[in-house]
């Protein structure tokens, strides 16, 4: 038989553990986990990587990756990552954080890690709510969006405006790569993979802080079917959170 016919084209990345998922149906965490594992494998850094687990839906990330990890207090992952990276500059340190973790309680830690140009990489999941605690308003919740704690819809008068983290961090000099991506269709998935790779490469090459914001669905807390959630993301999130590379992009 022709060997080519049997060449595997799609295998589980070796950095990704073979365990059942705890994520809800239609949630995008799983896709992002896989992309991150693929990039870790591709760059050959599995034995150097340390992942910071956040507090939120992805708190159990250490179960999914075959790499070292540290589970951090809510929002503090960039500070913990800083301590590890300063102590072990040869390691590749990645924080994986949601929008409650990073954009609310951890705002100071992410801004200062970014402005220090800390040689770490942050994957930021923006799904416009606190998923694990039951869908409360996050700093990223859209105007008018109903959540557990904005039952009448988020109002600028009561709750202020959404934070655009990628753009905010892009005003700083420390980041070497900042992008906002999505994973709701194959084209976007491939772009997202490319951005995750760049955000890690700038760390490996010692250029500075790497950051990828991933627009993500939360069908359970949005009260939508997975397919409806994708449509909602495209129609409502992208106008507020435009996709693209904000720092270090290929021109």
């Amino acid at each position: 038989m022709n060997e080519i016919l049997y060449k595997p084209l799609y295998l589980r990345p070796k950095s990704l553990a073979r365990v059942p998922t705890h994520y809800c149906p239609g949630c995008h965490h799983g896709i992002v986990h896989r992309l991150l594992a693929e990039v870790i494998d591709e760059l050959g850094i599995q034995e150097k990587t340390v992942i910071m687990a956040p507090v939120g839906c992805s708190v159990l990330i250490y179960n999914y990756f075959e790499v070292d990890s540290v589970e951090c207090a809510h929002g503090r992952a960039p500070a913990v990552a800083t301590g590890i990276k300063r102590a072990r500059p040869d390691s590749v340190v990645i924080t994986y954080q949601g929008d409650g973790d990073l954009a609310a309680i951890g705002t100071a830690e992410i801004v200062h890690a970014a402005t220090r140009g800390e040689r770490i990489t942050t994957i930021f999941i923006n799904n416009t709510n606190f998923g694990m605690t039951g869908g409360q308003m996050a700093p990223t919740t859209l105007i008018g969006q109903k959540t557990e704690t904005t039952p009448y819809g988020r109002s600028p008068e009561r709750n202020g405006y959404p934070i655009r983290v990628a753009e905010m961090l892009a005003t700083l000099n420390g980041p070497a790569y900042i992008a906002r991506v999505a994973v709701y269709n194959p084209t976007q998935v491939m772009r997202a993979r490319n951005s995750v790779k760049k955000a890690i490469q700038v760390q490996v090459e010692g250029k500075g802080f790497g950051f990828v914001e991933v627009l993500s669905t939360c069908p359970t807390n949005w009260g939508l079917k997975p397919t409806e959630a994708i449509k909602w993301l495209e129609e409502n999130m992208i106008p507020v959170y435009p996709l693209g590379e904000f720092v270090g992009g290929s021109k």
């Binding site: 589970e71 500070a79 913990v80 990552a81 301590g83 300063r86 200062h112």
Partner: protein
């Protein structure tokens, strides 16, 4: 080594940490401990270490947590309000079984309080401090030489139990200058390896450092395991000094700077024929029990003096129970006892014993 150098307490603390093999300092400015950070920012780059000023005490303690997770000796120092902010990270370090040293040069509280020296954080330091069931070994030096000696002890104890250790001193010890001798020099490369540390799973299974356990039965087991470590620390780490305790009828119990002042008063009282003595806990947790068992039979009264409104007295009561009367005098605002003031207290107890 062997040479005596005139140093400010905060700087001696920093140099002691470096000589104890600490190469990583993360902190945030607050009076009266700023000289620790200033000294570290100069010295650590000279010895291949890292000084990093965090954006807050919250970030700084989490940087310490990260460095500790990577297996190095790391520390921070702060003062009362800053230590309150660090309690979250300290609790996580206990939960993650990470060794590190936290120095608290206490000032008066609550709130922003003042910047004068105080012992206002005794209860916070010795009864846990953050959330969850835990203790830290708390070391309370009363001279700068002792502070230097205890810095190495602090790192050793932290590594022994994989638990943070707190060095608890007041602003006077940070700001005063004394001649000190460094009796140790630890090469960080020669320290025992920490196979549990993270930094890349090369040639071994992955290491996961965490405090989370969502299965209550497992978390309970984990907590009992932590408690076993605290039990060991209780049994092995209590340190204290007895001063002029022979036949002592009036037993002073003081720690830190207060104990140092009290020694002068006790010497004077003895000259006047009053049988006064001092029990000075060096570890505030575990609180030493032995000197109390020895002292109670011959004692008439206990006198607890603290630069706070009465915190260690709770632990003294646990030891003395109702066996003897316990008197207390406190200074909760940033002022310090004078030797004559303490002598007067001793003499008044002598009259009414």
């Amino acid at each position: 080594m062997g040479e005596r150098i005139l140093m400010k307490g905060a700087e001696a603390c920093a140099e002691g940490a470096i000589k104890a093999g600490c190469r990583f300092f993360f902190g945030y400015p607050i009076t009266p401990q700023n000289e620790v950070a200033g000294y570290m920012s100069r010295r650590l780059p000279e010895v291949g270490g890292v000084y990093l000023q965090g954006e807050s005490e919250v970030a700084s303690i989490n940087m310490v947590l990260g460095a500790a997770a990577a297996g190095v000796r790391a520390m921070t120092s702060s003062s009362s309000p800053g230590i309150s902010l660090m309690q979250e990270g300290i609790s996580y370090m206990v939960g993650c079984q990470l060794p590190a040293v936290i120095v608290n040069f206490m000032r008066g509280g609550p709130g922003l309080g003042g910047i004068g020296p105080a012992q206002s954080d005794y209860l916070q330091a010795t009864k846990g401090g953050g959330h969850g069931d835990y203790n830290l070994v708390v070391l309370a030096p009363s001279t700068i030489q002792e502070l230097v000696d205890l810095m190495k002890e602090a790192f050793d104890i932290a590594d022994r139990y994989r638990n943070p250790v707190m060095v608890l001193a007041d602003g006077i010890i940070a700001q005063m200058m004394e001649a000190v001798e460094f009796k140790y020099e630890v090469d960080p490369a020669a320290l025992p390896p920490k196979p549990w540390a993270v930094g890349g799973a090369k040639g071994r299974p992955k290491n996961v450092i965490k405090s989370l356990d969502l299965v209550p039965e497992n978390l309970e087991k984990y907590n009992w395991m932590l408690q076993e470590k605290f039990k060991q620390a209780r049994a092995n780490e209590a340190r204290y000094e007895e001063y002029m305790m022979e036949e002592a009828e009036i037993v002073l119990v003081c720690f830190g700077t207060v104990a140092r002042v009290a020694k002068k008063s006790i010497e004077e009282a003895r000259k006047q024929g009053v049988k006064a003595g001092l029990i000075r806990p060096i570890t505030l947790w575990p609180f030493p029990e032995e000197p109390f068992l020895k002292a109670i039979p011959k004692s008439k009264k206990f006198l607890v003096l603290e630069m706070n409104a009465g915190q260690m007295i709770e632990d003294v009561k646990l030891q003395v129970c109702h066996a003897r009367p316990i008197e207390f005098k406190g200074k909760p605002g940033g002022t310090v006892f004078t030797p004559s003031e303490i002598l007067e207290l001793i003499l008044s107890l002598e009259e009414n014993k």
